[in-house]
């Protein structure tokens, strides 16, 4: 076999092996994607109930709470980046990191010190490689986040927020996560988590759906005190869940185009291999014909 032909065959083999891997990743991402969306849907009643309760307390009592009050003279901010644990998801993690960098610059331009919290191994690796300080990190569940992890993150952020400024506490906290718009679009998004602004989900409440005058047990202050950390947890959990769905969608798309590219390469190399084989055959035939002609000529002269 000709050297050229052997090289092409080898390429085809290795590209087919790679195609199998990317195809498998694509299928896995697709099936997990469905689960991630179900999980987001399953957590919706909880988030809705908490949001409603918090707005009820906020509407009917004049309670002030440290989590909702703006601190005067903000000079320290924290940013939580939600990235993925694994690669092969296209630009998913780097988009979040880039958005985070933009936010850092913005905050620094306003004269604030910024500390960074990261969820997801990719973001952690990126920061460690560049020797950037990380204030807190979590990893291990980026494509199927658990409520326990959300709770832990929320607790850490709340503690940092409630620590007085001169003891290293922060005055505001932002989250950079990826919003899942649809299967083809996922947007890196920044929200300010703390101090809290209570937002009523996507749809505003109906006119006739007025919040009733609640009695609070044991008291409005205690209710608010219990609810607000839960509200933060629910929002962090929600951010993790949408990010997981986005990550899987990004991975599915990246792996789909990788598989398509592999198919294209295989087609191209098959053509080249065929040409090389044909050229080899043609060359052999012309050698044989040429050789036979030379022999016949030699016989005729004697």
């Amino acid at each position: 076999m000709g050297a050229q032909l052997r090289v092409y065959r080898q390429r085809i083999r290795s590209v087919s092996a790679m195609k199998k891997i990317t195809r498998a990743f694509e299928l896995i991402a697709t099936s997990r994607m469905v689960k991630a969306q179900q999980r987001t849907a399953a957590s919706a009643p909880y988030t809705r109930a908490i949001t409603r309760a918090v707005s009820a307390v906020a509407t009917y009592s004049n309670e002030e709470h440290p989590l909702t009050s703006e601190k005067p003279g903000i000079d320290r901010a924290a940013v939580l980046l939600v990235t993925s644990d694994r690669g092969l998801a296209g630009a998913y993690s780097s988009n979040v990191i880039k958005e985070g960098d933009r936010l850092h610059e913005l905050l620094r331009a306003e004269g604030k010190q910024v500390s960074t919290y990261i969820a997801g191994r990719k973001g952690i690796a990126f920061y460690n490689f560049r020797h950037r300080p990380i204030a807190g990190e979590w990893s291990g569940h980026s494509d199927a986040p658990t409520f326990e992890m959300a709770k832990e993150i929320a607790q850490t952020l709340i503690t940092a927020f409630l620590t007085p400024n001169d003891e290293g506490g922060v005055d505001e906290i932002h989250i950079v996560y990826t919003r899942f718009v649809n299967m083809v679009t996922q947007e890196p998004t920044v929200i300010r988590m703390l101090p809290l602004e209570v937002v009523e989900g996507e749809e505003p409440p109906d006119e006739d759906d007025v919040l009733p005058l609640y009695e609070f047990e044991p008291s409005a202050a205690v209710v608010l005190d219990t609810l607000l950390p839960k509200y933060v947890e629910a929002r962090v959990f929600n951010a993790l869940l949408t990010s997981a769905a986005s990550e899987l969608a990004a991975r599915q798309r990246a792996m789909k185009s990788a598989t398509d590219n592999a198919e294209q390469l295989i087609r191209k190399y098959t053509r080249l291999a065929n040409t090389a084989r044909q050229a080899e055959i043609t060359q052999e035939i012309s050698e044989i014909v040429g050789g036979a002609g030379a022999l016949a000529d030699a016989g005729a002269t004697h």
């Binding site: 009643p45 909880y46 009820a56 409520f147 047990e217 839960k230 629910a234």
Partner: protein, 92 residues
């Protein structure tokens, strides 16, 4: 008119349906909710919630704290972790 009850945990809806009475323990003590109860927003202690469903039978659910809201005969019980059954379940 029966109560419309929903019991939700952080990652899933645990139970939903109609009931004639709901009993749960708040920080101040047990709270029983019957139809026509005044709107209330109460903080729950870790407890076993009893829901008397209209189709007969009691539904028991364990929750590790959270809150309960009542308005217009709609009862919403929200807890980080809640499971049917009277005993706390181990980590899933």
């Amino acid at each position: 008119m029966p109560l419309e009850v929903e019991l939700v945990a952080a990652d899933h809806k645990v139970w939903g349906g109609e009931a004639s009475m709901v009993v749960a323990r708040t920080l101040d003590g047990d709270l029983g909710v019957l139809p026509g109860h005044t709107p209330v927003l109460a903080v729950l202690a870790p407890c076993v919630i009893t829901i008397k469903a209209t189709d007969g039978g009691d539904v028991l659910a364990h929750c590790d704290g959270g809150f309960l809201s009542v308005e217009h005969d709609r009862v919403m019980i929200v807890s980080d972790r809640a499971d049917l059954g009277s005993a706390p379940t181990a980590d899933r």
